[in-house]
Symmetry: C2
Subunit: 251 residues, 2 copies
DNA sequence: ACCTGAACACCGTTCAAGT
DNA sequence: ACCTGAACACCGTTCAAGT
């Protein structure tokens, strides 16, 4: 058995390491925060619970007691802790298109601040389905205002989240932990070996695109900016959804 | 030192376990194929090189000798082996929009056939930058035909690949390996606890969206179809790129 | 050239036992 | 209630030694 409080619930209840019982004073929220710090610094691949315990000066078993059971549960908490504030920049009076822009730009900013955890958000089904509810509500609300409902609403929602959150996942996809410059050299060599006869266009625009487009790169969005590409995607989606929105109101 | 042949090169050279030297007859291509089979069956999280060696009736060291150095190299080979045929369904006479559709629908089909490897394709920077060149060339060619060049071409390329391949990555994101029905129960409980006062819209459309939209689901695209959502995304992107295409030709 | 076996330095997770 | 230490069953990776 374990407490099983989410980060959010814990924060609300103001739980703190108080009283004589807290010999070590470990907290679920503290563990999550320390884990994020660890991943920010050393990367997700290098992260381990034993290492985290070492850094916290605590036994590994202690972490298991506070977090529910497994490493995956910790990862779920981490995901949630990063995306909670995704709807923070909303202001009253925004129309549905502005609200969508705000929420997805916030999402990207939040992930960018912790680029190394990006795979946890996009490539795993780990959300506990609570912390993200505000996000879901905003997107659904925007789509409803645009006139979407039923199956169309579902498809529009999935196209937005899948396209935009998916983009961000790829944008910050981690490279190999070890030999950074080794890898660049290997990559450069392979690019130089591209056969103009087979791939004339790729070869021709290589100086323009090398390390700046998704497949042909050796660094990720933490180093190379994909801001203009993301904004194009955002515009394409929102404008497109507006154009084919079922009629409602004046718009 | 190791052979260092890619799957493709090996195939071309017709290399086979021939002669008396091949006591075990291990091949890089064989290793990759067996690894994919293993991941298809047991999932990516359960995959290990030791386990693979066991299944192949071979020492782990032998695998390291054939693949270059590390698990990551094997993962790169796996990614490449799955996406090589992405441009196979192209037919002469297709306009740029049809070519884009074809290539991205093919990509999704290929990933769907090996849904458990999806995280390797989207969430890691593991491409060896060779196998995917055909894909890159097709997309760049389509965008050029549409009138894109320079920065706009880069952004359009990234929006397409990031949005669509990102979508597919999320679509097939793996859930927790263990307790499948346990997790469903937990999820159902959490959905039932959604407060209509805080999240009125989410609560109202819950029957419509439960387990069918990205954030609020306990199963992935291998079980629940996201085909119509993917096609909406594809249409939004291609139509949008056509609408804002720099003038060229008649179009 | 290809392959094995043992070895090193790690993991995740559980669980009795302590306070 | 909270925490430790030891234990179990694994890993990835390297490398001498074999054929």
């Amino acid at each position: 058995m374990h407490p099983g409080l989410s980060v959010e619930e814990e924060r609300k209840s103001g739980k703190k390491p108080r009283g004589r019982a807290a010999a070590v004073g470990l907290t679920k929220a503290g563990i999550v925060a320390a884990a994020v710090r660890q991943i920010d610094e050393k990367g997700l691949a290098a992260f381990s619970i034993r290492d985290l315990a070492r850094t916290l000066g605590v036994s590994a078993g202690n972490i298991y007691w506070h977090v529910g059971g497994a490493k995956e549960d910790l990862f779920a908490e981490i995901s949630a802790s990063i995306t909670v504030s995704v709807s923070e920049n909303l202001a009253p009076g925004m129309d549905w298109q502005e609200r969508l822009r705000s929420v997805f730009l916030s999402y990207r900013d939040l992930v960018r601040d912790h680029a190394n955890v990006a795979p946890l958000l996009g490539a795993q089904l780990k959300s506990n389905g609570v912390a993200n509810l505000a996000w879901v509500e905003v997107v659904l609300g925007a789509l409803q205002e645009a006139g979407y409902e039923g199956e169309m609403m579902r498809d529009a929602f999935n196209a937005l989240i899948g396209g935009l959150a998916g983009f961000v996942t790829m944008e910050f996809a981690p490279g190999p932990a070890d030999n950074l410059e080794d890898w660049e050299a290997i990559f450069a060599e392979r690019l130089a070996a591209i056969d103009p006869a087979h791939y004339p266009l790729t070869h021709a625009v290589l100086p323009d695109i090398s390390n700046r487009i998704f497949v042909l790169r050796w660094q990720n969005g933490a180093t190379i900016s994909y801001t203009s590409s993301f904004e194009l995607l955002l515009d394409l989606l929102i404008d497109g959804l507006a154009a084919r929105a079922p009629a409602v109101g004046l718009q």
